[in-house]
C-alpha cells in the first residue's frame, strides 16, 4: 500500500522573532492531525529548540540567513525537518553534552545553555541530525506512541532509560 502524505514548507528569516510563527504553524498542523494536547506541546518545544539552535549557532548574527521547516504528515506520524544553511556546529561535542542539569554541581558550574538538543531528543520519538552543510534536524512524533517501542532509536545508547516496570 502506498503511504499518503502531505507536505507543508515554511521558510522564515533566521531571527528569534519568527520562532513563535514556526511554533504556531507546527502546532496548528499537529492539532489538525489529532495529536493530544501534551504531544502538541512536546512538538512545539522540540521545533522551537531546533529553530533556536539555527538562530543562535548557524548565522552568528549575520544578516540574510533563513530557516527552512518542512513538515510531512502521515497517517501515523508527523515528520519535521528544521534546516539552516549556516555554519555547522560541532555536533559530536554537543551530543556528548546532551544531558539534564546536574543537581550536585556547584551553582557556578550550571550551564545556561545546551539543553536544546537534549530536550528535542527527549520529547520526540525519533531524532537524527545531519550537519554536512548547515544543520538539518529531523524529528518524528508518532500519533499512537503505543505502537512504537519507546526510546528504541535514541541518538546515543547512554540516554536509554528503562521503560515500564
Amino acid at each position: 500500500m502506498i503511504e499518503t502524505s502531505d507536505t507543508i514548507e515554511l521558510t522564515v528569516p533566521a531571527k528569534a522573532d519568527y520562532i513563535g510563527v514556526i511554533r504556531l504553524t507546527t502546532s496548528g498542523i499537529a492539532n489538525r492531525m489529532g495529536f493530544s494536547y501534551d504531544d502538541i506541546e512536546d512538538i512545539k518545544v522540540a521545533v522551537s529548540e531546533a529553530a533556536t539552535n539555527a538562530v543562535n549557532h548557524a548565522y552568528k548574527g549575520e544578516q540574510g540567513g533563513v530557516i527552512s521547516i518542512r513538515m510531512t504528515t502521515f497517517a501515523d506520524r508527523m515528520e519535521i525537518m528544521v534546516m539552516d544553511t549556516g555554519r555547522s556546529f560541532d555536533f559530536e561535542h554537543m551530543a556528548k553534552n546532551m544531558k539534564p542539569l546536574d543537581p550536585s554541581a556547584a551553582f557556578e558550574d550550571l550551564s545556561e545553555g545546551g539543553l536544546g538538543l537534549y530536550l528535542i531528543d527527549t520529547l520526540m520519538d525519533r531524532v537524527s541530525i545531519n550537519n554536512d552543510s548547515g544543520v538539518a534536524v529531523y524529528m518524528t512524533k508518532f500519533l499512537q506512541r503505543d505502537e512504537v517501542e519507546l526510546h528504541d532509536d535514541r541518538l546515543y545508547e547512554s540516554f536509554d532509560r528503562p521503560v515500564g516496570g
Binding site: 528569534a16 522573532d17 520562532i19 513563535g20 510563527v21 511554533r23 504556531l24 506541546e41 512545539k44 518545544v45 522551537s48 529548540e49 529553530a51 533556536t52 538562530v55 543562535n56 539534564p100 542539569l101 546536574d102 543537581p103 551553582f107 557556578e108 550550571l110 550551564s111 545556561e112 545553555g113 539543553l115 536544546g116 537534549y118 530536550l119 527527549t122 520529547l123
Partner: protein
C-alpha cells in the same frame, strides 16, 4: 506571542515578578533584563510567578539558571512558584526542579 512581566513589591519586601505569555528565544532577553538587576543585590529575595506562562523552552530555563546563579553569588533567594503542568514537566526533564526552590500559591498565601 508576547511576554508580559508584572513587577511588584511583596509585603515582606521581596520582589515578585509575574510572567505571562510565551517565554522563548525572542522574549527571554526581556525577562533576563528585568530579573538580573533584581537578583544582583545582596540578600535579595526574588519570586518568579509562572502561573500564566503558557509556553517555555530551554531559553527560559537558561534565564532562570542565570538568575539563580547570580542570586546564589549575592546570597539571595530565588523562588519559582505556580508552575503549570507543562512548565513543571520541562523543569523535571531538564533537572531544574532538583536545583531551584519551587513553591506553590497556597504556601505563598500563608506566609
Amino acid at each position: 506571542m508576547n511576554l508580559n512581566i508584572l513587577h511588584e513589591k511583596k509585603v515582606d519586601g521581596g520582589e515578585l515578578l509575574t510572567i505571562s505569555g510565551e517565554l522563548d528565544a525572542y522574549t527571554a532577553p526581556k525577562l533576563k533584563e528585568t530579573i538580573l538587576p533584581l537578583v544582583d543585590v545582596e540578600r535579595a529575595s526574588v519570586t518568579l510567578d509562572l502561573k500564566d506562562t503558557d509556553y517555555m523552552d530551554s531559553t527560559g530555563i537558561g534565564v532562570i539558571i542565570a538568575a539563580y546563579k547570580q542570586s546564589c553569588k549575592r546570597n539571595g533567594t530565588l523562588v519559582v512558584q505556580n508552575l503549570t503542568p507543562r512548565v513543571s514537566r520541562l523543569f523535571d526533564i531538564t533537572g531544574l526542579s532538583e536545583i531551584i526552590t519551587i513553591d506553590d500559591i497556597k504556601k505563598e498565601e500563608t506566609t
